[in-house]
Structure formats: structure tokens, C-alpha cells
Symmetry: C2
Subunit: 360 residues, 2 copies
């Protein structure tokens, strides 16, 4: 079986880690033998934008839809305002490809150490998956500016919440919780202060929750108090569902608490499978270390493992599991980058994982 | 000198800690002798609301304005929806009393231990003050719901940012940073995804920043990455300025990282002094432990210390400092509540701090 993958390296370290990921994915395919990847490389980046004035061509949607999945490195570069680069590529892809779920697993893997003193010896005490609403809410993009250049300038950000949007993410979150050993879901909100959209969010949550009574153990947290619980009682959390912005913040915090933002993966899913889903590490383009060959490729590899699971529809889970084992073996043995307190560079980690993949 | 204080105990543990605070404030006054407090008690609470149908009377603004400051316990109770209780009391007070700044200091005090392994031995490595925009942004209250009971329900939350609102909070933040030994300000934003209001926020920040070039050392962080920095490099942060919602989340996280949400204070300030400012611990009404006499009163006392500073306009700073020393001595000696890993109850901590105040 051949899987067509749209590879968008993007900016900065996105390029290095995407190269490394292609090497690892090809290795997996050659070891296994029953499938292969065809990579279609798209040079959509801030650098290209500065040269030609656009990030993606007019027919970008058609081009992406010819693929089974999208692999994304990172976007964002100092000489382009971030809201231009992001609203020119990553955000339109999430929206137009109907990727309304963003799945962000976090756990303490071999070779990482949690900065929380209570977690260092019991890694599985921090084992979460954040289900992020990825299509509306605070990222709806609505709003505007009036009197922009005057002293009475006013600007708005309009967060949009729809019953359709909330219901589908809640259902996905409950199903995720149900599929995990602990069957536990924590819903995050800020309905005490945000009394319109977040109140609808709560209401739809409770409606969907009824269908899972006795099947999934669920509770509700305010987003501010949630950060406290993540720090103080990480072992009480499992699956977490939150809005686009809240989950953006909580998933970065989760990655930091698990020991490294450099290992955290994300899957932007269209659960209907009508459009290709997109897989990307949650870290950014890291201009400060770009081009030096020292970026941590683990977040990229973990994202690739999730991509293998998704395109394989359950039939390639053993391949993804094998890649994760290889990653943990290599990092656990000390071959890891500086952000994980190691001394290896991107190539050394990548080569080591490629050899390890042959063994597991 | 007599200071008139409007005391609003509110709900749950708000009542217990306000009683304890009044005891401590009276003690401070009797020890010092040159000033006194007159407490005007307002029974505005969820309990009263359920009995009589309102939280605050029609002339609440006039009643509050007769005081030099407002001391607030907590609001929120399980049988009233949170968005009703909060929009009936705490949020209108912040808005109508022009308390556009919310100051939230966080540090590791004697007797607390940071959950971060790197911070436990060097307490001053985590010494922050969060300056929260307290009058607009995500808490503007605008938005609404359409088709609420149908399957195509849609609800909006409209965040409003004005140049006037942003400029005054930035100026306050820069002045705060300038007054602290490290003269460092970190501005938090999410202007990569929120391209209207947050872009104005950034723009006004840079305008105000120009006036402080060479005086205050400033930088800019995205809110998601900020959580990572708070966890991994707490020693690089000092003064932090953020929107109403971002700072709400970050200040809870800050308190957790410093070792206890029960000690964190907040000051809701009207810097023009045309209206009374309001002081409240950042924790909530804690229904689970309410009425048991075990609540940690330290956040309430620290808030009271900030109130003393404010009403004293610089002349009573030694009193506030004395109270803080008494708190640290008592907690450091082990008289502290369960959330700080002690065994004392509210009364024991309060009595111990009252005796200590006589000595320092
Ligand atoms: C790059 C940015 C728009 C993005 C987001 O906020 O969604 C990133 O922080 C992420 O978490 O994927
Ligand atoms: C009670 C609630 C409205 C409040 C807020 O979100 O501002 C609280 O969390 C706080 O931090 O003071």
C-alpha cells in the first residue's frame, strides 16, 4: 500500500525535522515491507512568501486533497508578522480541511524528566491527552479594528461557539476517554466570566455527557484552576477537552510539565476522513537554533507515529508503537538533544532511532 | 487616621477568612496606634441572593464609595450558576469602580515549597508580579446567544480592546517594573492567532515601551509559550503584563508554581483614586471546606497587607512589611494549614500571626 503524504516543512527548524521525519518514515516502510510513502514536498514558507508574495497557491486545497495526510513542520519567521504567516497557512489548512479536532497526547517518556518533583519517579502519573477544539471559538478569526490610528482605537476579537462545533468535539473527547484505560474526561471552561459562548459550551457538554453516564467518569474545571490541578495533582487527570485557546495554553503547559516541549506531537484530524488530516509537532520554528542541526526531532517523530496510526486505520498501530518504543529506547539510553539534557544533534538522534527501528 | 473599609465576606470560606483578616487588621492598628480601621460589613452573598433575589442593592456604588477601600472574601456557590453570581458582584465592582489594574504578586514565602524541583532551595528565583488588565478584553461581557435551544445554536464572546485601556495598563506595568530591583517586564500576547485585538495590544505596547527604552528591560511572549517559560525558566521573569483572561490563567499557574494558591493576593486598583480599590485573595469560595475553619487565611492577610500599602499611600509600608514578616515567620515555623502541608486551622494561624505582629 502506498500512502501519499504532503510534506510542508515550512520555516526554521521545521525544515530540519521534516527531513529527519521523512528518513524515519522511509525506514519504517522498508523494514516492514508491506507499505510505502510517497512524499510530495510543498515549499510553502515565510521565506518563499517574501520572495514571491504568497504562501500557498490558489489551488492549495486541491493539491492537498490529492494526499492521504499532511505532514507539517513549523511556520513563523521574524521578518513576517506572525498573524500574517499563521493566517496564510496553518490556520486556513486546519479550517478548510475540516480538521476540527486537535489531539495532543502528553506523557513522560524515557529520557525526559518532569520539572515537578513529585512526578520524577513515577512517569505514568502524568499521562494525558488534550482534545482541542480546532475549528471555532477564539480562533474564529472574526473581529476587527476601528479608528486604528487614533487615540480612541478599538479592536475586537469575536469568539464563535456553535452547538454543532461543540457537540462534535465533546463526542470525540468522550470517545477518546472511553478508549483509554482510565475512562476519565475533564472538561475545561471559563463560563463564570465568559457568560455567552462558554455557557453554551457547558450546556452541550452536559447533554453529551448523559450518553456516557456510567461509561466515562467526567468532571468540569475552570481554566485558571485547571493549571493548578495540572501542577498539583497530575495523576488525577487523563483526557482533557477544552476550547481552541484554552487548549492551546494547556497543551503547552502539559508538555512543559512532562519535561519537554520538543517531544510533544499534535494531530489535526478531520474525523470524517473527507479531507487529509495534518500532523505537526507542537513546537514552533525556533529561529534561534534554526539551521544548526540541533533541533529535537522527537516531537516530529511522535507526530509521524500518530500519522501512521491515522492513515493505517488501525492496521499499522504496531508500526507506530514500534517507532515509539525505538524513540524511548534511544532517548532512555541517552542519545538526545540539549533540551532533553543530552548532547546529541538532530542527525545523531535520527540515525540512532533509524537503527533502533530495525530491532524493535 | 481612620480608614473606612467596606468588608464583603461573600460566600464559603470568604466569610471565615474575612473574619480572620479583620482580627489581624485591628491588631495591626492597635499595635501601631496612629491609625484605625472602621469596617462596614456588607452581607452581599449567594446565600442572601437566594433569599431575597439580589446580590447588591440599587445604590451599591454610593455605598461602596463612602469607603477608602473594599475588602472582598470570595463569591460563588454551587446552587447559583457562576456566571450569575460573578456578574452580579465581583465583575460589576471591578468595572464600575474603575479598577482597571489587577496586581498579583507571587513568590515563594517561608513555609511554602515550590513543586518545581529547581526552585525549592532558591526561593527568590521565583519572584513575580502579574499585572492583569482588569476592565476590558475577554471580560468585556459582550456577546450573546442565538437559536439557543436549537441544533444550530450559536453563541459569541466579544473581547474588546481599546487604545485607552491598553495604554494605561502598559504604563502601569512599566512603572511597576521600573520600581522593582530587576526592572524587567514581559508582555504576553496571542497576536499570532488573534489578529485584531491582540495586534492592537502589541502595537500600543511597543509605543509605550519606547518611553522606557534603557530604563526597563522588556520582552514579549506568546501566552502558550509563556507557560513553558514559567515552568522551565522562572528566574528569567519579573513583572508580567497580560490581558484579563491570559493573566487570570497565568496568575493561577504562578501561584501553583510558587507552592500554594491559598497564599496568593490580588489588588484591584483604580489608580486615579476616584473610587475605592478592592483587595481579595485569588482563591475562590471553596465549598468543599467552607465552614470547617480550616481555610488558609494567608492569601487574605497578604491582600490586607496590600490594602494597607494602598490606603497608606506609602506612609504605612512598614506596617504592611511587618505583617508580611509575621506571616513568613509563623508559616516558616510550621504553623500553617493543610494546603501548605501543615496541620493548623484558620484560628491557630490567625492567632499566631496576631502575636507575631507584636514582635516584629
Ligand atoms: C502557531 C499557532 C497559530 C498555533 C496555535 O496557537 O494554534 C500553535 O501555538 C499551536 O499550538 O499549534
Ligand atoms: C471569580 C472569577 C470571575 C475571577 C476571574 O476570573 O477574574 C477569579 O478567577 C479571579 O482570578 O479573580
Amino acid at each position: 500500500q502506498l500512502f501519499k503524504i504532503a510534506a510542508i516543512p515550512g520555516d526554521g527548524i521545521g525544515v530540519e525535522i521534516t527531513d529527519a521525519t521523512i528518513q524515519v518514515l522511509n525506514k519504517l516502510a522498508s523494514v516492514e515491507g508491506s507499505f510505502a510513502f510517497e512524499f510530495n514536498n510543498f515549499d510553502w514558507s515565510s521565506k518563499a512568501y517574501l520572495e514571491r508574495g504568497w504562501y500557498m497557491p490558489d489551488d492549495w486545497q486541491d493539491q492537498l486533497r490529492e494526499n492521504d495526510a499532511i505532514y507539517f513542520g513549523a511556520v513563523g519567521w521574524p521578518n513576517v508578522p506572525d498573524h500574517i504567516s499563521l493566517w496564510s497557512m496553518i490556520l486556513p489548512i486546519r479550517n478548510e480541511m475540516n480538521q476540527y479536532v486537535n489531539v495532543r497526547p502528553t506523557r513522560i517518556i524515557q529520557g525526559t524528566q518532569s520539572p515537578l518533583s513529585q512526578c520524577q519517579t513515577k512517569p505514568r502519573d502524568l499521562d494525558w491527552v488534550v482534545i482541542r477544539e480546532n475549528s471555532e471559538g477564539e480562533y474564529a478569526g472574526q473581529g476587527g479594528t476601528t479608528h486604528g490610528h487614533s487615540d480612541h482605537a478599538i479592536a475586537t476579537e469575536v469568539a464563535i461557539f456553535t452547538k454543532v462545533g461543540i457537540e462534535r468535539i465533546m463526542r470525540f473527547a468522550f470517545e477518546t476517554a472511553k478508549s483509554r484505560p482510565r475512562r476519565k474526561l475533564t472538561m475545561v471552561t471559563k463560563s463564570n466570566a465568559q457568560r455567552h459562548g462558554m455557557v453554551l459550551w457547558d450546556k452541550v457538554f452536559h447533554q453529551v455527557a448523559k450518553e456516557y453516564d456510567g461509561v466515562v467518569d467526567y468532571d468540569k474545571m475552570l481554566v485558571d484552576a485547571m493549571t493548578v490541578r495540572m501542577v498539583n495533582r497530575p495523576e488525577t487527570l487523563d483526557t482533557i477537552v477544552a476550547t481552541n485557546l484554552h487548549a492551546d495554553i494547556l497543551s503547552d503547559l502539559a508538555a512543559a510539565l512532562a519535561g519537554s516541549i520538543g517531544i510533544a506531537p499534535s494531530s489535526n484530524l478531520d474525523p470524517t476522513r473527507e479531507n487529509p488530516s495534518m500532523f505537526e509537532p507542537i513546537h514552533g520554528s525556533a529561529p534561534d537554533i534554526a539551521g544548526k542541526g540541533v533541533a529535537n526531532p522527537v516531537g516530529a517523530f511522535w507526530s509521524a507515529a500518530e500519522m501512521v496510526r491515522w492513515v493505517g486505520k488501525g492496521r499499522l498501530d504496531h508500526i507506530a508503537d514500534g517507532l515509539m518504543t525505538a524513540i524511548e529506547n534511544v532517548c532512555g539510553a541517552g542519545t538526545k538533544t540539549r533540551d532533553m539534557a543530552g548532547t546529541a544533534n538532530t542527525k545523531q538522534v535520527t540515525d540512532a532511532i533509524c537503527s533502533e527501528v530495525e530491532k524493535v
